[in-house]
């Protein structure tokens, strides 16, 4: 059965067509959904295609950077702020990044045997906020809260963060291969308010590491994250390596 496809021509129309999200599959760049469809693991009944919705705006609004969910990963790789660009550059390869979007990256759940959503870590470290709509209407929340919730019921409308002022560090453990998913990512940023640390690639969604932020002790990362086993790495390996990656990130912030 062919899916019903909805192609909104404005943000308002996209919000209205999405409604409470029930039974709707949102297509941004298609890079995570199309393999699922090709492999027969997914068969959308109603598809909301956002490519003409106007949700691809990227602008600097005073000291706040705002982006629509349809901003591509390639755009961020080329022009975003340090830590976000650094993680955007490790997503897929150039052709995949040109189609993949920041909204899709935030909403992607685990794939078959690998975790997705590298950009969650730097967005947490940057203190990003996500404005989304769905059941209960529109709301804005910290990116880590958005990631901890039921993303399938939300349509991302905007992602924003304050222009970073401090140092940052990016640590990634992965095989050296264009299409290898990360085993673990650690992003850390410092600002006048302290530090923020985000981890991605270790489970179905990126996680903020509040214990590490407060203690500045890498060993505390085990209190913040509970890594999963998958085809890329074991939970045990991730747990051990996270301590190393977090320590390196903290050292780098310290020394810069």
């Amino acid at each position: 059965m062919a899916a019903e496809t909805l192609v909104p021509r404005s943000i308002d129309e996209a919000v209205q067509l999405f409604g409470d999200g029930d039974g709707i599959t949102v297509f941004a760049g298609g890079t995570t959904l199309m393999p699922e469809i090709a492999a027969g693991r997914m068969s959308p009944a109603r598809a909301l295609l956002l490519h003409r919705s106007g949700l691809d705006d990227l602008r600097v609004d005073g000291d706040v950077i705002r982006m629509g969910p349809m901003v591509t990963v390639a755009t961020l790789a080329d022009g975003a702020d340090g830590v976000l660009a650094r993680f955007a550059r490790q997503v897929g390869d150039g052709e995949v990044r040109a189609a993949a979007t920041v909204g899709g990256n935030l909403c992607a759940t685990a794939g078959l045997g690998a975790q997705r959503g590298d950009l969650g870590a730097p967005l947490i470290a940057l203190g990003a906020r996500v404005r989304s709509t769905g059941k209960g209407g529109e709301r804005t929340e910290a990116v880590e809260d958005f990631l901890a919730g039921d993303r399938s019921g939300r349509l991302v409308l905007e992602i924003e963060y304050d222009r970073p002022t401090g140092a940052w560090s990016a640590q990634t453990l992965r095989r050296r291969h264009a299409h290898s998913y990360a085993i673990a990512n650690v992003a850390a940023c410092s600002s006048g308010d302290g530090i923020r640390v985000g981890v991605s690639g270790i489970g179905p969604a990126a996680v903020r590491c509040r214990s590490v932020e407060q203690s500045r002790n890498a060993d505390e990362v085990s209190k913040d994250v509970d890594p999963v086993d998958d085809a890329v790495a074991t939970a045990d390996y991730r747990r051990r390596m996270l301590v190393v990656l977090v320590r390196r990130a903290l050292d780098e912030l310290e020394s810069s």
Binding site: A38, P44, G94, E95, V96, A98, H179
Partner: protein
């Protein structure tokens, strides 16, 4: 939906979420883009969408409604190969040939974007998502660099089919 494929306007009747790859291969019978992994991981389905290389297996056709698509067939013909095609031929950059359509299309876009000679590391970056399971990478990279420098010797005669061999229907694809 409409697509302009290799300069010819086409009305598309496949369902909107059909991968561009399958629209090209099955509806339009343009078979140079190969159905390799169909997971976005191998690169042999790469085509140009408005001049930019894209994985056709990852692209629902509805997302490119109205776009100009260029496949390998649109780059050159058997009698008049494009510079990258000629370089692949002359420098033995094709072994089994399954990855060549995507490699050549992506390399052509790279050279076009650069507008002049490209360095090896730029080729590695641009083709980093393309697999050659014959592992013929060195000759492929050599061919792309040579094509970008215009170091493509003219091909006097392409091999023609021998007496007694069945004629191969050439629709412009070497694969």
């Amino acid at each position: 939906m409409r697509l302009t494929v290799n300069g010819i306007e086409q009305e598309i009747s496949s369902p909107p979420l059909t991968a561009l790859l399958h629209v090209l291969r099955e509806e339009l019978e343009i078979t140079s883009p190969k159905a390799g992994c169909q997971q976005g991981g191998c690169g042999t389905c790469t085509v140009l969408v408005d001049g930019e290389p894209r994985r056709s297996c990852l692209t629902p056709v509805a997302l490119v409604d109205g776009a100009a698509i260029t496949t390998l067939e649109g780059l050159g013909e058997a009698e008049a190969l494009s510079p990258v095609q000629a370089a692949f031929h002359n420098r033995y950059a094709a072994q089994c040939g399954f990855c060549s359509p995507g490699m050549i299309v992506a390399a052509t876009a790279l050279i076009e974007r650069k507008g002049g000679p490209v360095e090896r590391d730029e080729v590695l970056e641009a083709l980093g998502g393309h697999y050659c399971r014959c592992t013929g990478y060195v000759k492929i990279i050599d061919a792309v660099v040579a094509a970008s420098r215009g170091e493509v010797e003219p091909i006097a005669d392409l091999p023609s089919s021998e007496e007694g061999e069945p004629d191969v229907l050439v629709k412009g694809s070497p694969a």
